[in-house]
């Protein structure tokens, strides 16, 4: 059986809730979220850093959960796709993706939405070029991106109109 691994105390917040766990030093954040916490909204689409499906926010910044060691997240605030809907209502970005057909198969979507969330938090009024740059680490194989760009634009517009900033 697997020999005793080096373990670390991991205290962080995940989707606003305190999470205290002992994790193996080699555990990836993506596996910690999916397997330890059961947050399977975060997807794994590649062997490391290629696709962006695993994008989560760490202290507000979009990061690849598949390239991040869980043990390195001590004291950090981690947010996943599961945190965005409030009382089971979609967030503005999620609504944009749903209404504009920014999601077809939906496998890239959690990562796309989190990348967009990170983008709109720092830049609430991005132009098309900035949206493209903000989502450049995320691959979608279904949509051709046209409707993803529209989805993010419409979410930004909605947030602007309603005077909410992320």
């Amino acid at each position: 059986m697997a020999e005793i691994k080096n373990k670390t105390n991991l205290s962080c917040t995940v989707n606003g809730r305190a999470s205290d766990n002992i994790v193996s030093d080699s555990l990836l954040l993506a596996d910690f979220l999916r397997e330890t916490l059961g947050l399977t909204g975060t997807k794994i689409g590649c062997d490391g850093g290629e696709c962006g499906c695993c994008t989560v926010l760490i202290d507000n910044a979009p990061q690849h959960a598949c390239l991040t060691l869980a043990a390195k997240c001590n004291g950090k605030a981690i947010e996943t796709i599961e945190s965005l809907s409030e009382e089971s209502r979609l967030s503005a970005i999620q609504r944009g993706f749903n209404e504009k057909l920014g999601a077809q198969c939906g496998f890239c979507t959690p990562g796309m939405v989190m990348a967009a969330e990170g983008l709109l938090r720092t830049n609430p009024d991005p132009n098309e070029q900035e949206i493209r740059a903000g989502l450049a680490s995320n691959i979608c194989r279904c949509t051709g991106y046209v409707k993803i760009i529209e989805a993010v634009q419409s979410a930004a517009d909605e947030l602007k109109m309603s005077g909410q900033a992320l």
Partner: protein, 771 residues
């Protein structure tokens, strides 16, 4: 109550019925199921491309604590494969391995680390054989056969001549020929392959969830390789992260997962890596094409003569169908009177390709459209005009290979792209290093003969109406992201005049939903859409009869307004819920079904062996104009803009249709300019999403979509294919645009900067040597 109207769902932009689950992260894909106690599977793969297996020693691996099962090719001697005539692949290799990365053994263990340790303990002894990585090498004299029953490594040879080709060529004023090479490409769908199998030893029953486009074919193949009764198997398709054809046949991943779960007497989750997903492959084969087209001075085509050679990988898969499509589907786009085709499907020591989006015809269409463009330039005929010159004399047209064309919106597609791209004003006046190109394509709306002929209808849909007034659609049609569940709901809602929110849909669970052949060859909208309309019509009849009883009226006088039923003469009608109560009286919950079958005249030709392949109830058409710029220093191509018109019969959901067309164009762009697999001695060296060069959001062009509606007489509300045709048209439209931009014509795909630079340099040198 005069204002009550039936709800309309067809032709309206609808977001996906399963969209909220996807955008909220609630949607569960195969690898998201992690029941407590679930084991992890891991595959040991062949390190060599071609070898005789001497021994797979798993003794030490088995003894490792935490390992619950290790299986090899000894686990099953039943081969699998999509085509009944070509089943010679085993889930785990027996006797021989035939490509690098072929599964040899599988471990089920308590966690990934343990599974990997066990894999490292497996000792694989083999004797290497000569391996062939190109079609040419595999077909050469004196090669070792990959399979004893396929001499010279030819999987299938197709040879037909329809019409008088030699006469056509000699009657031509002008004959032009060219060779093309199209690199092998892969779907690179977002979700890597995954399966989870739960074996219940007590009941000898297995439940398998898998990322698949064809749960029914999986069911058949699971029964075969497990040697279990079909009734002891339940196949469920969870959410699936894209397909594009990579999952239109049973994959070894699914079968191995079930085999190892049974061996371990437990539940095993087998999620393979991206690299393994590339190795599992089933993409589009590398294709070499030599084509000759004869034309009259006015651009009328007199004959086409061509050969296509496909590097088919180590096993057949869909190979025979692919090489047949490459011939049969040349027809149906233009009026062709003489065609000779020779196709070779070759077995090589590379991973097996499959039925990728635009199956079988994409590369041949590329060659044809590129050549047609070249002819137009030579004859100084406008590139759109030469296509108009050769249009079918249809609809109501029968091709040489007996395809029936009942709807044909290609002329309107050409008109649309011509106008929207301002073709006439801009073509030829784009300035240096900028160009416009046009091309067309078409594709089937489902194969009219299924690969497994059982005598059942092509599609069956159930509708369950219960006391609460909700209707559940039960369909085996696999929703894989293409929007089939939304389409089905729209069809049912439209017929019954109800809002879509009255419906729930349950898909692809073999113990609940009626069998369906699967999501491939663009069959679902046409076939399952029609079956849904049939089911909803049957339900409506029951409801009208119930309303008539209640209202004491003649059923013919009852009008269904969706939420309200009224009898002509009476003031007071019935609400939908009252009608439901009336309908359930004495019978209880109602389940109705609807079917769809293809018409015999769509079953293809008997003029040559395999002519049934390419027969379809309807064909979708596309014309595309692509605008490019080429960087003179780096030879990098930038797609500036795309105008994509597609005749989809009727856009049931214009939003979805746009999404399909945009996705197709973009995937075509990948194949055209950057994508291609590479192997070094059989080792895949492009097995990551970075090395394989999928375009990103940065390179993605603006795409204008033109929806053309020709209303197919047999399609559901007139609809036909929407998700493949535009991919086919993009590739030649791009290379034609490149030719317009720089005056040299690329022939080999993908048109990468290094290849294009070489062409440009050659061209300048030639120009210099002329002056």
């Amino acid at each position: 109550m005069n204002e009550i109207k039936p709800s309309q769902s067809i032709g309206i932009r609808k977001s996906l019925v399963d969209g909220p689950e996807k955008v909220s992260g609630k949607a569960k894909y195969s690898s998201d199921f992690m029941p407590i106690g679930c084991l992890v599977g891991r595959i040991f793969r062949s390190p060599v491309a071609h070898a005789e297996i001497i021994k797979v020693d798993i003794e030490e691996a088995k003894l490792l604590p935490g390992v619950k099962a290790v299986i090899t090719g000894d686990e099953t001697d039943e081969p699998f494969g999509i085509l009944p005539i070509a089943r010679f692949e085993f889930p785990l290799a027996r006797d021989k391995v035939r490509y690098r990365g072929e599964p040899v053994a599988c471990v089920a263990a308590i966690d990934v680390e343990t599974a990997q340790k066990a894999i490292d303990l497996i000792k694989f002894k083999y004797k290497e054989l000569p391996a062939y990585f190109t079609s040419k090498d595999a077909m050469a004299e004196g090669t070792v056969d990959l399979h004893d029953h396929r001499p010279r490594n030819i999987e299938r040879e197709v040879d037909f001549e329809l019409g008088e080709v030699d006469k056509g060529l000699s009657d031509a004023d002008f004959v032009i020929e060219e060779s093309f090479n199209c690199a092998e490409v892969c779907q690179v769908q977002s979700e890597p392959h995954a399966a989870i199998a739960e074996y219940d030893a007590e009941r000898e029953f297995i439940t398998v969830r898998a990322s698949t486009q064809v749960p029914y074919y999986d069911h058949l193949m699971l029964a075969k390789v497990l040697k279990m009764d079909e009734a002891q198997i339940r196949v469920v398709k969870p959410f699936v992260g894209g397909g594009f054809g990579c999952r239109t046949e049973s994959l070894n991943v699914t079968l191995i997962c079930a085999l190892v779960a049974r061996a371990a007497n437990g539940t095993v989750r087998l999620t393979v890596s991206r690299e393994e997903t590339f190795i599992t492959h089933r993409g589009r084969p590398e294709t070499d094409i030599e084509m000759q087209i004869g034309v009259k001075k006015d651009g009328t085509i007199t004959a086409v003569d061509y050969t296509a050679i496909q590097r088919g990988g180590a096993y057949s898969g869909y190979g025979v169908v692919t090489i047949l499509y490459s011939g049969g589907l040349l027809f149906g786009l233009y009026d062709l009177t003489a065609v000779r085709y020779k196709g070779f499907r070759v077995l090589t020591n590379t991973p097996p390709p499959g039925a990728m989006r635009g199956h079988g015809i994409t590369n041949v269409r590329y060659a044809f459209e590129a050549l047609l463009d070249k002819i137009a330039t030579k004859l100084k005929i406008d590139a759109i005009e030469i296509r108009r010159k050769n249009l079918l004399k249809g609809p109501n047209y029968e091709t040489l290979n007996e395809m029936f064309i009942n709807s044909y919106g290609l002329p309107e597609c050409l008109d649309w792209v011509e106008k929207e791209s301002q073709w006439n004003q801009r073509k030829g006046k784009m300035g240096k290093f900028r160009g416009l190109g046009v091309a067309c394509g078409h594709y089937i709306s489902g194969a009219s003969k299924p690969v497994n002929w059982t005598g059942e209808p092509h599609a069956t849909v159930h509708l369950k109406l219960d006391w609460d007034g909700s209707i559940t659609i039960l369909t085996g049609a696999p929703e894989i992201g293409q929007g089939s569940s939304t389409m089905t709901t729209q069809c049912a809602a439209e017929v019954l005049g109800l809002d879509m929110s009255r419906f729930q849909i349950i898909t692809s669970d073999s113990k609940l939903t009626p069998k369906d052949n699967g999501s491939y060859s663009s069959r679902v909208t046409y076939m399952v859409g029609n079956a849904t309309i049939d089911a909803a019509t049957n339900l409506k009849k029951i409801l009208i009869e119930a309303a008539a009883r209640k209202l004491d009226a003649n059923p013919d006088d009852v009008e269904c307004l969706g939420e309200y039923y009224s009898a002509g003469s009476q003031d007071e009608g019935l609400t939908f819920n009252e009608v439901v109560t009336a309908a359930l009286e004495g019978t209880g919950t109602i389940t109705v079904k609807g079917n769809f079958d293809t018409l015999p005249e769509s079953w293809g030709t008997k003029k040559y062996r395999g002519g049934a392949v390419s027969g379809s109830m309807a064909y979708a058409y596309a014309a595309q104009v692509v605008e490019v710029s080429v960087d003179p220093d780096t030879a990098e191509i930038k797609v500036e803009r795309v105008w994509a018109a597609q005749d989809v019969g009727k856009a049931l959901n214009p939003l979805s249709v746009e999404g399909q067309i945009e996705g197709s164009v973009w995937m075509g762009m990948g194949q055209a300019i950057s994508e291609g697999t590479l192997y070094h001695n059989g080792l895949g060296i492009t097995n990551s999403m970075l090395d394989y060069r999928v375009p990103t959001i940065i390179e993605s062009p603006p795409i204008e979509v033109g929806i053309i509606e020709s209303i197919d007489p047999n399609g559901p509300f007139g609809a036909k294919e929407a998700g493949e045709t535009s991919l086919i048209a993009f590739i030649p439209a791009l290379t034609n645009a490149v030719a317009d931009a720089i005056g040299v014509r690329p022939t080999d795909l993908p048109v990468t900067p290094d290849k294009l630079m070489e062409l440009m340099e050659k061209n300048t040198n030639n120009a210099k040597s002329v002056t």
